[in-house]
Structure formats: structure tokens, C-alpha cells
């Protein structure tokens, strides 16, 4: 099934998420423009990766999708019906139950005073599953799915009794226990050992394939996106600067920032120790006062004077590999 044939699950349209800064006594002091004009569609059963560094807005984007922030402008449409930004109260709670959230720090995400059984039952209780036997059945089933077995051994364990990988399995189990259509995974493996990352990503991929879940995988580590997504969106300073199918992005990165990310990603190779890596100078910009025009222009080795700092580039098309960069005009 091609992208075009699958239905759209989540449609993000010109989304802006700005946080107001207030100075005590002086009122309004500007906005942190965390997400500043993002548009894309996510289809049922599709996995996409959102790649970017700290401060690019990916976490704010994710929290807005989860209904934890309100959009400042633009819309998020779920399942063709609901504009997430307008949901309140009970409707918002029901929406949130349709999305699973896998957090970055497994230890931080689990209440230390709750054992696995209580942690996994909680979403069921909140969402009105009253029968304890039914809850137990579902808890056991999801633990089998994430391979936290033998189930009886793990049911009564507290988070500190488990390894990072096991804790993350509990987080994943909790995210899927309500049978969501969409799972948002925010850096799900970056706090785990490198050798455990693959195990957890494969687990997620297996669940995604089995239940036809749509997954938004947020990460700054490009080396894992090939194993775990169909399309990649690269974010920088609140904008999506490149959108492409994963192999197209990895073999032919178009935006200079994407190329910089790829060049900075190491594969195990002893020759790496022999040279310095070329990196764009400086750091990602403040989101309160982002640079004019293309936000990457102050750091871009391929900057075109009198163009890049003046006008903000929009998606320049090349079939399904879009890039927001004047080099591709």
C-alpha cells in the first residue's frame, strides 16, 4: 500500500506553538516560537521520524500532538474528525487515550512507589475498565507483548529493581495497553546502553507491524532512523527543513543542516580518531528571536548572500523529497 492509498490519521497544518514570556510586573516580553509553521500528514500504520537537536521544537511539537499544549495557530486534525486544538475536558481526555506516549527517561517515567502491575493498570482504571479480572488479563497480555516474561516475576517488581531496558519495556507496555492507533516515542532509547537500544527499537517495530500502529519516533540519532521509520522530518529552530523517505534522506541529504547531522554521526571506525570533524559553527538559535530568513543561515556553509538571510525558504519540491532551502530553487 503506498502512502497515497493509506488514510490520513493525523494531519498537521501550518502549526505554530508559541509560548509567551512574561516578565514580572512588565507583562508581555516576547514569545518562544517553539514550533513555527509545521505541516505534514501521518497515515495509519506509518512510522515517521522527527530528527533534530535540543531546542529545535520537536518536544513541543510532540506535546501539542498529545494535547498537552494548545496550538497558537494552525490545526492538528486526528482521524479526519477532531481538531485537537479545540478539545477540552472529557473530549480531550478521550483523545489522549488514543495516543500512546513513550518517554525518554524510563526511570523518570515510572512512579517509583508503584509496581509493574499498578503502573500498567492505571491507564485502564482511568479509562473506566472496572472489572479487575479484565484488567489483569490485559496487563498480562501486554507484558507478554513486550517480552517482560515470566510475567509473574515482573508483575510485582518496582522500577528500581529492573534494568533500564526492562523499565523501558514497562513504559512501552503502558503506552500500548489502551490499544492506541498512534504512539509517540520521544527519544525512547537515548538513555539506554547502545547495545540495548536495538533490542527496544526492534520490539517497537515488531509491535508497530503487528498492530499497524502509526509511530512518531523523535530522536537526534540519525543512525537509528533507518531501522525504524519510513519517512524522516528534520527539524531546526521550529521549522521542518527537510522531509523525505528514509533511504532518500540518508543517501541524498539535501539540506546543509541534514548533511551536517549526518557528517557528525559516527560509525565505529578507528580512522575516526585521525581527523577532526567539520561542524557548522555556533549553536542553534534562540527561539525567541530566531534569525531572519532561513534560520540556519548564520551557520550555513552554503549560504547565498542577500537571499538566505532575507527570505524564508518554503518547501522546494522534488517528488517526495522536500527541502526548505534556497539551494534547490
Amino acid at each position: 500500500m503506498t502512502d497515497k492509498q493509506r488514510d490520513v490519521l493525523l494531519s498537521i497544518n501550518d502549526l505554530h506553538v508559541w509560548f509567551e514570556l512574561r516578565r514580572l510586573g512588565f507583562g508581555h516580553a516576547g514569545y518562544v516560537k517553539a514550533v513555527d509553521g509545521v505541516t505534514f500528514d501521518l497515515h495509519y500504520g506509518e512510522t515517521i521520524a522527527i530528527v533534530g537537536e535540543s531546542g529545535c521544537g520537536k518536544s513541543s511539537l510532540m506535546k501539542t500532538i498529545l494535547g498537552l499544549n494548545k496550538p497558537t495557530k494552525g490545526s492538528i486534525t486526528f482521524d479526519g474528525k477532531q481538531d485537537v486544538g479545540t478539545l477540552e475536558g472529557e473530549a480531550l481526555r478521550q483523545y489522549r487515550a488514543k495516543i500512546g506516549y513513550v518517554q525518554q527517561d524510563p526511570f523518570g517515567a515510572l512512579a517509583p512507589f508503584m509496581n509493574v502491575q499498578r503502573i500498567l493498570e492505571e491507564p485502564l482504571i482511568i479509562n473506566g475498565v472496572k472489572d479487575p479480572a479484565e484488567r489483569e488479563r490485559r496487563v498480562r497480555k501486554v507484558m507478554e507483548e513486550v517480552k517482560l516474561t515470566p510475567v509473574d516475576d515482573f508483575l510485582h517488581k518496582f522500577p528500581h529493581m529492573m534494568s533500564g531496558g526492562q523499565q523501558q519495556r514497562v513504559v512501552i507496555a503502558r503506552a500500548i495497553i489502551l490499544e492506541p492507533k498512534l504512539v509517540v516515542a520521544d527519544e525512547p532509547v537515548s538513555m539506554l546502553d547502545a547495545s540495548v537500544r536495538v533490542e527496544i527499537l526492534k520490539l517497537l517495530r515488531g509491535l508497530q507491524e503487528k498492530y499497524k500502529l502509526a509511530v512518531i519516533y523523535i530522536t537526534h540519532d540519525l543512525s537509528t532512523v533507518r531501522y525504524f521509520s519510513e519517512r524522516v522530518f528534520v527539524m531546526y529552530a521550529g521549522n521542518v527543513v527537510e522531509k523525505a523517505p528514509v533511504n532518500s534522506l540518508v543517501h541524498n541529504p539535501k539540506h546543509p543542516y541534514t548533511s551536517a547531522l549526518m557528517d557528525a554521526t559516527s560509525d565505529p571506525d578507528a580512522d575516526n580518531a585521525l581527523t577532526y570533524r567539520e561542524l557548522p559553527p555556533g549553536e542553534p538559535p534562540s527561539l525567541v528571536n530566531p534569525p531572519s530568513g532561513c534560520r540556519f543561515h548564520p551557520r550555513c556553509p552554503k549560504r547565498i548572500d542577500n537571499l538566505c538571510e532575507v527570505e524564508e525558504p518554503t518547501d522546494l519540491a522534488s517528488d517526495d523529497h522536500l527541502v526548505a532551502c534556497w539551494l534547490y530553487k
Binding site: E53, A264, T265, P268
Partner: protein, 320 residues
């Protein structure tokens, strides 16, 4: 390795901690050496004892130590023989310093970063405040922090900048050797690469040696001259970087290498099933045996360290 080239040689280092459930054998007869101006990577997963190894080298011991022995030769002299005060004055932060795990998050939030970097210089080198300031400026230059950041507080710096400050703190007393414990694990990829550029420059221009402790094989190749793989408190393979990254020998090293997702290759990474053993009661015999695909009956006895053309491997497969 040539005796005269060794900056650091560790022999039979042991560090066991006492707990109510018994002794945790965190560092169990570790041997390795490091030449001047080289970087050795101690590679291992969580719980293998690598952070404890750093503490054992720097004698940063908690109160529940039950066993601490071995020989640590720095420039030919066994520093384990020194008493506490001599070690504190001449070794810790004088010859060997450290950037601990999550150092960038452990900076004192209420003291300006310039003052924090100056502190080891004032205490260990006895310099005046003015001399300390000019030392700090020089350090900031080495690690790539703008000079005007001297008067800033940690919260005003990004993660990458704070990590550079932590490295500057370890550098200010001009040590010969710096231990780095997971120096880039919390950082974004561009920042990680920039930190490694700093470390490469310190190695190349200032001649400093490094022991880099990490679980991240891919980034470890950015600095490594040699690699020591640690598993369950023991070193299972020691090799030069070129041969290690091309083809490691120990089954654990091989599986670890195979588990790394690569950006530039098409192979699907494989993960290692099972878990490392608890250091409380490590299994008799080879500690990797129950997860090893090449296990055979001899593995129920502890394997000796075999020498394969200069590579040390603690595995029966390589013992003739």
C-alpha cells in the same frame, strides 16, 4: 608494551563493595596499560564496573569498600603505596583528573563557572586569584568556551558548553591523564562531535592521555588508540583500535559490535539476548558463558588471558 613508554599500568586492580547481600565485585583483577599521549577506551554496558574502575584508579572510594588492592603504576611508580595525603596532593587532580558522568549537570548552580574552573588551580597549585583567572582564560581557549563566559552561571550555558567547562576544570592543573566517564552521552550529535574535537585537540596539541569510559562504541572510535572491553567486572579483551574496530575477537566484543546501528551500512543490527550477571555473585567460570553462542564445556572454568598477536583475550576459544 615497552616499559618506558607506559604512562599508566594497572595490575590486578580489585575493588569490591560491601552490601547487606554480600560483596559487589565491581572491579575484579583488572589489568591494562596506557602509553603517553594515547587514549584507551574502556567499553562496557551499564553495571559492568567501568565507573567503579575510574573511582578505583583515582581512589575515590565510598565507605563500604571491602576489598581494594592491586598496583597502579604511574610513570613507573606504584601510587597505591602512597598515603592519603600524598595521593591527594600529587596524584588526584595533579597528575590524573576526571570528568565524571553527568559532570555538566553537577556544576554548582550558584557559583560562576570561571570560579569553579579556578578552584582546583587555587587549591592544588596554590596560585593567586589573578593567576587563576589567566589560567582559566587559557583553559577556556583550549576547550573552546568564549572568554566572557567566565562570569556566567551554569544555567546560562548550553549542555555542550557546560561539558566543556567540566573538561576545563579537569584540565586546569595540567594533568598528564584525564579520565572521562560517558562524556557525551546526554548530548546531541553535533555537540558530541564538537566535544570530541576538543578532546582530539587536547590529545594532539597538549599531549594529554585519556581513559574514556563509555558504552557507546561508535563515538568511542573518535578518540581511541586502544580499547579495553569490560564485562562483569573483568577486562575480556584489550586491543589496538584499528584491529578492534575492524574485527574484535572476544564473542562479547563481537556481539557488542554487531549491535551498533550504522548510518552508512546496510546490515541490520543484532542485539545480545539476556543480561549481564549481577556483580554480587558472579558465576563461576567465564562470566559471559550463559549468553555466549560459542560456549562449550571448558567455559565452566575461568578462562586465562590469551595473547593473540598482541591482543589480549580472556576466552577459551583462543587458548590453545
Amino acid at each position: 608494551m615497552a616499559q618506558n613508554n607506559n604512562l599508566l599500568r594497572i595490575e590486578d586492580l580489585v575493588l569490591h563493595f560491601g552490601t547487606t547481600r554480600g560483596a559487589v565485585q565491581a572491579v575484579d583483577r583488572v589489568n591494562f596499560s596506557l602509553n603517553a599521549n594515547q587514549a584507551v577506551v574502556v567499553l562496557g554496558e551499564s553495571g559492568c564496573g567501568k565507573s567503579s574502575l575510574a573511582k578505583a584508579i583515582l581512589r575515590l572510594l565510598p565507605r563500604n569498600v571491602v576489598s581494594y588492592s592491586g598496583r597502579v603504576y604511574l610513570d613507573g611508580n606504584d601510587v597505591m603505596q602512597l598515603d592519603e595525603e600524598e595521593f591527594r596532593q600529587n596524584i588526584r587532580w595533579a597528575s590524573i583528573s576526571m570528568v565524571p558522568q553527568a559532570a555538566m549537570n553537577s556544576l554548582n548552580p550558584v557559583i560562576r563557572v570561571g570560579d569553579q574552573v579556578a578552584e582546583p588551580a587555587i587549591i592544588h597549585l596554590g596560585v593567586s586569584k589573578q593567576e587563576a583567572v589567566s589560567l582559566v582564560k587559557k583553559m577556556f581557549q583550549h576547550v573552546g568556551v568564549p572568554e566572557d563566559f567566565i562570569s556566567r552561571y551554569p544555567f546560562e550555558l548550553s549542555g555542550g558548553m557546560r561539558q566543556r567547562v567540566a573538561i576545563a576544570m579537569a584540565l586546569v592543573t595540567s594533568p598528564n591523564l584525564i579520565l572521562l566517564d560517558e562524556p557525551t552521552s546526554a548530548l546531541d550529535v553535533l555537540t558530541q562531535a564538537s566535544i570530541f574535537n576538543v578532546l582530539k585537540r587536547l590529545k594532539g596539541e597538549l599531549g594529554i592521555s585519556f581513559i574514556l569510559i563509555t558504552h557507546d562504541i561508535a563515538t568511542s572510535s573518535e578518540l581511541a588508540d586502544s580499547v579495553a572491553v569490560m564485562y562483569a567486572g573483568q577486562i575480556v579483551e584489550t586491543s589496538d583500535a584499528h584491529r578492534f574496530f575492524a574485527e574484535p575477537l572476544h564473542p562479547y566484543s563481537r556481539m557488542l559490535m554487531a549491535s551498533v546501528p550504522r548510518l552508512r551500512a546496510n546490515t541490520e543490527p543484532e542485539f545480545i539476548t539476556g543480561q549481564p550477571p549481577s556483580l554480587l555473585n558472579p558465576p563461576k567460570g567465564c562470566r559471559f558463558a550463559d549468553r555466549c553462542p560459542k560456549r562449550f564445556d571448558k567455559c565452566s572454568e575461568e578462562p586465562p588471558v590469551a595473547n593473540v598477536d598482541g591482543i589480549q583475550v580472556k576466552c577459551w576459544l583462543y587458548t590453545s
